[in-house]
């Protein structure tokens, strides 16, 4: 959200400098993305403050955190343009009140399309948007100030009754961006006699777009179900400023104010309101949330007085009504309609804490003692293994949890084989991240290859990390594995690796035994036919292997070096209670 500083100054009488406001905003409200001399950009990503998507909302917030006064009044219902005279209705049917709980549409006639005034253009540009013409600019200016998206149809191009409903099978629509869209039966559309004229809340149709010849418009202000609208926007890959506001949530009170403001702005280029329909209950639900002083003080760790709390609440435009309960003060707090994010006591506690200033909360050490309750053996073993291997001269590496295309190729895993054997992502960033690794050694081989190209000749590395696989029931599983890879410029690196293994085995008293019996398994073409040793626990459970990588695999990397690997599964190892490091 880009907030024009000039505009903001017209809505709030700041009693501090802009520099001070810029300093306070991140400490009291929200992080800033960018500050220029024209605007302040709030970092709204993932935020829940729907009210901050309007300059009026930001003005209230700026007033709250600085103790300043706002410079605007909110018009009451009786003051709205349409309540000044009796007007006919625009013919509209809202056929799905669940997905469109509130829908207003106004007909405005006699407008002269023109360039916008300099003042409007400045406001729009300082807010990071572009000026189009006076009709479109009004919808954007009002959206920026009030947070309520509006859409203007060319009334001359809309025929018959307007309907608000779910799209029917096979309906299509050319949207403003020129693309032909095919909404499905879970997407809300606005239609006329001829079919869809807009995808509700997301984008209007080309057919009914306002042009230089437009003289009358149908102005729409609505609330659509945010979750449904988000799904449609994601499906059509259409994210917009309007869509963002629908998804964060809107209020009926602000919607009516916005509609009223837009109609007034259209009066300047000759527009006159000639018909209007308002469908749905126009009252926002009033929220009352309880706040207890003792709960507040316990969660923040500060002793607030009831005076302090009441001052903060009134700065927040909340209306607190206090009562005493067992010596504790409790407030029934009426929440201002625009604060959709305040729903529970903890939300109010955050409000009080942030107005006090998070940064002033003193540090308090943890009370009491604590002894671990869960099994820590696996973690202890992993750390001991790492330390032991480093002391034996090995270097720890970390590789991705994926198999790269080079690795897949070296393992002879065609797409077909990989699909069957490996855990696969539905939406990988690229083919390099499509499959999860089921062993670590292929990734270590890739690391060796990379370093051989950097002129390393003697390489001894290890990684401890998770591998991912499909178990007997075809379910995804994962476990920690230790893998060592060694190339030492000899044609038999396994000799040295076996020594390293024996040393570590002895040092950590792991009691892993070597078994020379030929391993039965599908992957044997990946290992040297004779240089392969199975590793087992004292009870004969298979733990892993020591092996030279088959030349067939290293050749695929064009790696002209013999490489030996050790792999040991850590999950099984931790089941095995004879490890001295656990004693």
């Amino acid at each position: 959200m880009k907030v024009s500083i000039n505009w903001l100054n017209k809505l709030v009488n700041l009693n501090v400098s802009i520099e001070e406001l810029v300093r306070l905003l991140p400490l009291r409200t929200i992080g800033l993305k960018e500050v220029t001399k024209n605007y302040i950009e709030l970092d709204m990503k993932g935020y829940n403050r729907a009210d901050l998507l309007s300059i009026r909302g930001v003005a209230y917030e700026a007033a709250t955190i600085t103790g300043s006064n706002i410079l605007f009044n909110e018009p009451q219902e009786a003051e709205f343009v349409w309540n000044q005279e009796s007007l006919p209705e625009v013919k509209v049917d809202v056929l799905n009140l669940k997905l469109c709980p509130f829908y207003c549409i106004a007909k405005i006639e006699g407008i002269k399309v023109d360039k916008s005034s300099e003042d409007w253009v400045k406001k729009i540009e300082a807010s990071g948007m572009r000026s189009v013409n006076n009709i479109a600019d009004v919808t954007n200016l009002v959206m920026l100030e009030y947070g309520q998206p509006l859409h203007a149809f060319d009334a001359g191009k809309v025929s018959g009754r307007v309907s608000v409903r779910l799209a029917s099978q096979g309906e299509t629509l050319q949207t403003l961006d020129g693309k032909v869209r095919q909404p499905d039966t879970s997407d809300m559309v606005i239609t006329d006699k001829s079919g869809p004229i807009a995808i509700a809340g997301i984008m209007g149709g080309k057919e009914t777009e306002v042009s230089n010849y437009t003289s009358s418009i149908l102005l729409e202000a609505a609330i659509f179900d945010p979750v449904n609208l988000r799904q449609t926007a994601t499906k059509l890959n259409l994210q917009s400023e309007a869509g963002k506001r629908f998804q964060h949530g809107l209020t009926k009170t602000r919607l009516l104010q916005a509609l009223n403001a837009a109609i007034k702005m259209y009066q300047e280029p000759g527009g006159k309101l000639t018909a209007i329909s308002i469908v749905g209950n126009s009252q926002d639900q009033q929220k009352v949330v309880n706040l207890s002083l003792s709960n507040l003080n316990a969660l923040v760790g500060i002793d607030f007085t009831d005076k302090q709390v009441e001052e903060y609440l009134s700065r927040l435009y909340c209306k607190p009504a206090s009562y005493s309960s067992n010596g504790n003060v409790v407030w029934e707090v009426t929440i201002p309609y625009w604060r959709l994010d305040i729903n529970i006591e903890e939300d109010l506690i955050e409000e009080v804490a942030r107005l006090y200033g998070y940064e002033k909360i003193p540090a308090k050490s943890l009370a009491g003692e604590y002894k671990p309750k869960g099994d820590q053996k696996q973690f202890v073993l992993i750390r001991k293994l790492k330390d032991a291997l480093v002391s034996l001269g090995l270097t720890e590496v970390q590789t991705y949890s994926f198999y790269s295309t080079r690795v897949l190729n070296a393992l002879g895993l065609t797409k077909e084989k990989a699909d069957k054997r490996l855990v696969k992502l539905a939406n990988p960033m690229s083919s390099e991240t499509e499959y999860l690794r089921e062993s670590l050694w292929p990734n270590l081989l890739e690391v060796i290859d990379r370093n051989v190209r950097l002129d390393f000749k003697d390489i001894a590395i290890f990684e401890i990390g998770k591998i991912y696989y499909l178990n007997e029931k075809d379910e995804t599983s994962e476990k920690y594995v230790l893998t060592v890879a060694l190339t030492n410029n000899t044609d038999n690196p396994l000799v040295e690796l076996e020594q390293i293994f024996k040393t570590a085995n002895q040092k950590l008293d792991l009691k892993i035994s070597e078994d020379l019996e030929k391993e039965k398994g599908a992957n044997l073409e990946l290992f040297h036919p004779t240089r392969l040793i199975q590793l087992k626990t004292g009870r004969g459970k298979t733990l892993g292997r020591l092996a030279e990588i088959h030349k067939r695999v290293t050749d695929k990397f064009s790696l002209d070096k013999r490489v030996a690997v050790l792999e040991v599964s850590i999950v099984i190892a931790s089941d095995f209670r004879n490890f001295s490091c656990f004693l």
Binding site: P26, L27, I30, G31, K45, G46, Y47, N48, V227, R230, K244, H248, A298, L299, V300, I344, E346, I349, E350, A353, Y358, E359, I361, P362, A363, S365, L366, A367, G368, Y370, G374, F379, G393, T395, E396, Q398, T399, S401, L425, A426, N427, P428, M429, V447, R450, N451, L454, A460, N488, N492, V495, E496, E498, Q499, T503, H528, P529, T530, H550, K551
Partner: protein
Amino acid sequence: MEDKIRNIQTQYLNKINQAKSLKELDGIFLQLFGKNGALDLLPKEFSKLSSEERRKVGPLFNQVKQDLEKAINDKRGVIREETYQKLADEKLTFQPLGLEARKRTGHLHPVTQLLNETLDLFSKLGFERFDAPHIDTDEYNFELLNIPEGHPARDLWDTLYINSKIKNQKSKLLLRTHTSNGQVRAMRQLKPPMRVMIIDRCFRYENLDARHEHTLEQFEIVYIDKGVSMANLQYLSEYFFQGILGKDIKARLRPKYYPFVEPGAGVDGLCIFCKGKGCNVCGGTGWLELAGAGMIHPQVLKNGGIDPKEYSGIAWGVGPERMAMLKYGVEDIRLFKSGDLKFLEKY
């Protein structure tokens, strides 16, 4: 010209068939395709041909070129297979333990070093490790953490999903986007009071550059007890920064929204470069945003089977890679998982 091409074909196919080593094949490849090789020179003569002849010779030439290339590759395969067969004659040999081993200097990965320091710090306060899966359900990663489907807060995490063809649980499978997927699990298993640390990699749909990774480590603590407050959060933040970055690194809390905490906090550390004066690294503010935290949302406590009227808790998380970048002066986050020994041997 046709004959000339066919001659080259016969002559070289013979040579290829008789080759006995990969080296010999490399030689043949150069004679054919190298600069001034037999097939490299031929097209220069095509310009002298009539257009009718050229139409005949062109396709033939391309065909022969392909055939010869394939023949060389096939033969390479055959020769390799022969050497692969000979591997069976190689022996498995051992050396007795105690024989002089090669001397190397080993290195612990910089992120492991940072994590070890972090673990040691929090272990002193009694915190224990808790492991949570990398492949998890939408339920543990999102739903139980107060992030329902369709909530704008999901924009915070660009999620990688597991191919749905794999039959498993009811809930959608994904690669966890944060270690917070362990929060509700830990609550259900350990019961309060609890002090746990959840560590290891998380995944995001993110394109790589010097500051963005799709695979990143997280370190998270979950602390639940009676009377836990934001003052404890301030303490833990300061304890961490001072332990890892230096005694003079103060912590500062700011409001920040995460759906699974309320109140939520961003945690700044005093900029380690300018110590608060304001510099390029901290954008002149004197502070660096280093961690995310908050008081565990009552709904999340309830989802973990804990009564929020009785207990409160803190969730606090930090990115070890980012901390390591600051502490060790690493400029490119991709280096951590590159396996580049020139980089790793510096630590």
